[in-house]
Amino acid sequence: MALIRELAFQGAQMLVVLLLAPLLTGFVRKVKARLLRRQGPPLLQPYLDLIRLTRKDVVLANNASWLFRAIPYIVFAGTWVAVSLVPTFRSGLVFSWSADLIAIIALLGSARFFLALAGLDVGTSFGGIGSSREVMIASLAEPAMLMIVFTLALVAGSTQLSTMAAFMVSPEVGLRVSLGLALIALLMVAIAENARIPIDNPATHLELTMVHEAMVLEYSGRHLALIELSAALKLLLYISLVGCLFTPWGIAGPDASVQAIAAGAVLYLAKLAAGGFLLALFETAIAKMRVFRVPAFLGAALMLGLLATLLLFVSRSL
């Protein structure tokens, strides 16, 4: 019985993230539009887009291989599994121990690996430009992310997200400069990973500076829908991750009451809204970087991560 209950929670989490992700994207777009004094598309527009895309035929390039057709499913599955292992409103989910934070990062890495391959499959130069830039950005973002994981894991004594979240609410954690550094670095990495301004612009097409959109240029119909849904899921994942690691208040424990879980869900929605709002604010306030400024940006994130680990030893050794 307990197992069924746990499985239900796990399933609920998977459905919730899947359903919330387009809403979050729509919310960010809306806020950005309002900040620019535009009306903006309706909040539910991403859902309508997805439905419209799935109903359309797929127009496939003559040269596309079986891999090209399989990749949207692989990318979606990898991202979805990754995001369903991050505690959102309730920690200690039944399968949460099947992958720790390092494995979640690596799962996203798998998704990216295949997406970059998709960019090369049709054999056009736009796909190539996107893939090559994507892997360049990833080659810095992933180590930076791992350094952040190191810092957090050393503080919490675990790489298990539920344990980390539980530790972060406990009074022993205190005010640590390492945690501050890790937060800044995590935000920088999150911006890069989600292809947001100033690294990449999710709203452009046909710009020489674009990365993510160039990679998926040849996709259409249901394939494109899956890729866009994965992108939305990834954004949700990073905001949930920040929420779970740095503002873990309100996440219900494994044996919490119904009220606690409801409160956790409400708080989670609030966190998502806050994260989306801040992201929109940041994106509106800043200009996009040249591509070759990106390494310095992400290099700084890597340095911050490393610095956070080093400074940790100072506070640890006293």
């Binding site: 109903r55 035929d57 797929v58 127009v59 496939l60 390039a61 003559n62 040269n63 692989i74 599955a77 979805w80 599994v81 121990w97 099947s98 992958a99 720790d100 494995a103 690596a106 799962l107 990216r112 690996f113 960019g119 090369l120 499959d121 054999g123 056009t124 130069s125 736009f126 190539g128 893939s131 090559s132 892997v135 360049m136 990833a138 080659s139 810095l140 973002a141 992933e142 180590p143 791992l146 350094m147 190191f150 894991a153 004594g157 675990s158 790489t159 298990q160 046909l206 240029l217 040849e218 259409s220 119909g221 249901r222 829908a225 591509v291 070759f292 390494p295 890597l302 490393l306 680990t309």
Partner: protein, 678 residues
């Protein structure tokens, strides 16, 4: 008893060499007979290596408590040749023979395309035998003899295609580096044996040399075994020699022989040398971290498919040495559990790398056979022509890029878990060094993924860049069987890592006195290095989840929405269908990364030549890379030797009287030294 059976196997392999010569040499020109010789040699090698593999597995699981020993009346007269299979040797025997069996199976098909089989067939089984002997040797003499035998047979295989000038140069450099490495090993064994000359490993194990001497031995082993394994900066020969050999031999050299070198390092440093000093690990860790990052950066700049793979061997050796260095650090500070974790991670990676690197070299060999080129800039679109090879090669790429749910990820995950234990180390230097090495490891993993996107994407995806690539055909069934077998191993080791960790338990127990917690009993078959609240990973579940959610998505969309599909010309932002030369090439793919890392590491420069308006000359973009390690470490040595040879040249033209006087002075000087010696 096991070791005797194993030696029979080795003897069988050695006997195959003359059989190959006889079969191949008798009627010189007849193709069918050569075909028979190929089948006989590779078929017999396959059977023997498989049985050796079973013997090794048996000794690892059943008889690991008591090592099995034998002394043969060979070698030095009053010593004899000692052979022994303990847990460590058994594990490496599994690695060697698994790789050997896969290579033999692959060669059953691949070897038929060999131009001059007689230059390969006799040396191949001898090479396999030599690697087995190194792992089983139990005294310094047989170890070194087998080691040299291994170097020489592999050298013969490297220069098998002697018509190509590059191969000869590769063989020459390989021979030089191999002798240099053996010299270092010889010296280290000399120091270990001490003044009394105890050449048996048992005696060395019992006597611990003083600290300064032990440090010297460590450095010599790092040079000797490291040069064979391909540790930076001693890697220079590896990317030359490994690709020069026929592809199944390349797979053996990269996948297996480097592991034998790692075995040599582990055997001497963990087993024979006694308790480690705290700073040893810093040397090993530093070397490992630099090797990992440099190897992958070199690979990113490379367009030759097989050389790219060879540089990745360098990278993976770095990762293995990071694991070993961590194990040394923990062992030195009396943290056996952590040491067991780190050593397991390193050895797990040994196994993994031997599997996926062999797989990738087989794939590269099939591509080479089908298209006649190793240059990725001339490939492309092979996924349409060689779908099965493309699939297994893709599996290898995902595995080596350390992506879940395949096996490469598991060993790197274990290494990261070991790194996370480092704050408990008391020494300050290590505390700061280990996270930095962790950053290097993460960097190399990310760059490896980038590099394999390039390798797979440019050679297999896109459109064919040359007619040769457009005409490629799928490889034969034996080669495919070998590749599918290895690909399946990648998956199994990735989703059920607990069994391999358990198999490594006796090895770590014998080397650091502890082993990781038993994994087979953990529920749902996940792996838990220390405690479940701390970290756990379940490849099986992740794999099942990914497959399930992918299929559910596919099913739901196809059922509920649309499953229609239309073919059309590529969109490409509306540009009309262009020539396949407009695709991204390997060098253009690597260009952003070259700009980020290459300018400092390789002094990379781009030189654009734009002809004046009206001229018919094409515009050119040249990229200049400088191999700084070669310039700093090898070129001066070569120049010094040239200079010395030039100066000593006069000695060739002396009169007999002068030669005699030289000999006489030397004699007198030696006597003088004897007289003055205390």
């Amino acid at each position: 008893m096991m070791v005797v059976y194993a030696l029979y196997g080795v003897a069988a392999l050695l006997a195959l060499a003359p059989i190959a010569i006889v079969l191949g040499a008798a009627p010189r020109t007849q193709g069918p007979v050569l075909g028979v010789a190929t089948s006989v040699v590779y078929g017999a090698s396959l059977i023997v290596t498989l049985s050796l593999c079973i013997i090794a597995l048996l000794s690892l699981f059943e008889y690991s408590q008591s090592p099995s020993l034998v002394t043969l009346p060979l070698g030095l007269p009053w010593i004899g040749a000692h052979f022994r299979i303990d847990a460590l040797a058994a594990f490496f025997l599994v690695v060697v023979n698994l790789g050997g069996a896969a290579a033999s199976l692959f060669a059953l098909g691949y070897g038929r395309h060999e131009h001059s089989p007689l230059r390969v067939l006799p040396f191949y089984p001898a090479y396999l035998a030599a690697m087995n002997l190194v792992v089983m040797a139990d005294d310094a003499f047989s170890f070194l003899v087998s080691w040299e035998f291994m170097s020489l047979t592999s050298w013969a295989l490297v220069v098998a295609r002697h018509q190509v000038r590059e191969n000869l140069r590769a063989g020459y450099i390989y021979l030089l580096m191999a002798s240099f490495g053996t010299l270092a090993l010889l010296l280290s064994f000399g120091l270990l044996a001490g003044p009394d000359g105890h050449y048996a490993f048992d005696a060395m194990r019992a006597s611990h040399p003083p600290a300064a001497l032990a440090a010297l031995v460590l450095l010599l082993v790092l040079v000797g075994a490291g040069s064979k394994a391909g540790v930076v900066p001693l890697h220079a020969w590896l990317p030359l020699a490994h690709p020069a050999a026929p592809s199944h031999v390349s797979a053996l050299m990269s996948g297996v022989m480097t592991k034998v070198a790692v075995y040599g390092f582990v055997r001497i440093v963990f087993d024979l040398l006694g308790p480690p000093d705290w700073w040893w690990s810093m040397v090993v860790l530093g070397v490992g971290g630099i090797t990992a990052v440099m190897g992958v950066l070199y690979a990113l700049m490379e367009h030759d498919l097989k050389r790219l793979l060879a540089y990745h061997t360098v990278e993976n050796i770095g990762i293995i040495f990071i694991g070993l260095g961590l194990a040394l650090a923990f062992k030195a500070h009396g943290m056996p559990l952590a040491a067991a974790l780190a050593l397991t991670a390193g050895l797990f990676h040994v196994f993994n790398h031997s599997v996926f690197k062999s797989l990738l070299f087989f794939g590269a060999g099939s591509v080479l056979n089908a298209t006649g080129t190793r240059d990725m800039e001339h490939l492309g679109g092979l996924i349409h022509r060689m779908p099965q090879t493309a699939f297994v090669f893709l599996v290898g790429c995902v595995a080596i890029s350390a992506l879940p749910p395949l096996n490469g990820f598991v060993s790197e995950w274990l290494t990261f878990q070991a790194i996370l234990l480092s704050p408990q180390l008391p020494s300050w230097g290590l505390k700061f060094m280990v996270p930095a090495v962790g950053a290097l490891l993460a960097l190399s993993a990310a760059l490896a993924a980038a590099c394999f996107v390039k390798a797979f994407g440019v050679s297999f995806l896109g459109r064919a860049r040359t007619p040769a690539a457009a005409r490629a055909t799928e490889t034969d069934s034996n080669s495919l069987a070998a590749m599918y077998f290895l690909a399946a191993l990648c998956l199994v080791a990735g989703i059920l890592p607990g069994f391999i960790i358990d198999a490594l338990a006796p090895v770590t127990k014998s080397l650091v006195g502890f082993s990781m917690p038993h994994q087979a009993g953990v529920e749902w078959l996940s792996i838990v290095p220390i405690a479940e609240s701390r970290s756990s990973y379940n490849g099986l579940l992740v794999f099942v989840f990914v497959v399930l959610s992918g299929s559910i998505a596919a099913f739901a969309i196809h059922r509920l929405a649309s499953d229609k599909l239309r073919r059309a010309p590529a969109w490409d932002c509306g540009y009309p269908d262009s020539s396949s030369a407009t695709q991204y090439t390997a060098s253009s793919f690597a260009q952003p990364i070259r700009r980020v890392y290459g300018t400092s590491v390789f002094h990379a420069r781009e030189i654009g030549e734009m002809p004046p308006p009206g001229a018919t000359a094409p515009a050119r973009l040249k990229v200049e890379l400088r191999d700084l390690i070669w310039i700093a470490a090898y070129a001066p040595v070569a120049a010094a030797i040239d200079y010395a040879a030039e100066k000593l040249n006069v000695l060739q033209f002396l009169t007999i009287r002068r030669y005699l006087s030289l000999v006489f002075t030397a004699l007198v000087l030696l006597l003088l030294v004897l007289a003055i010696w205390p």
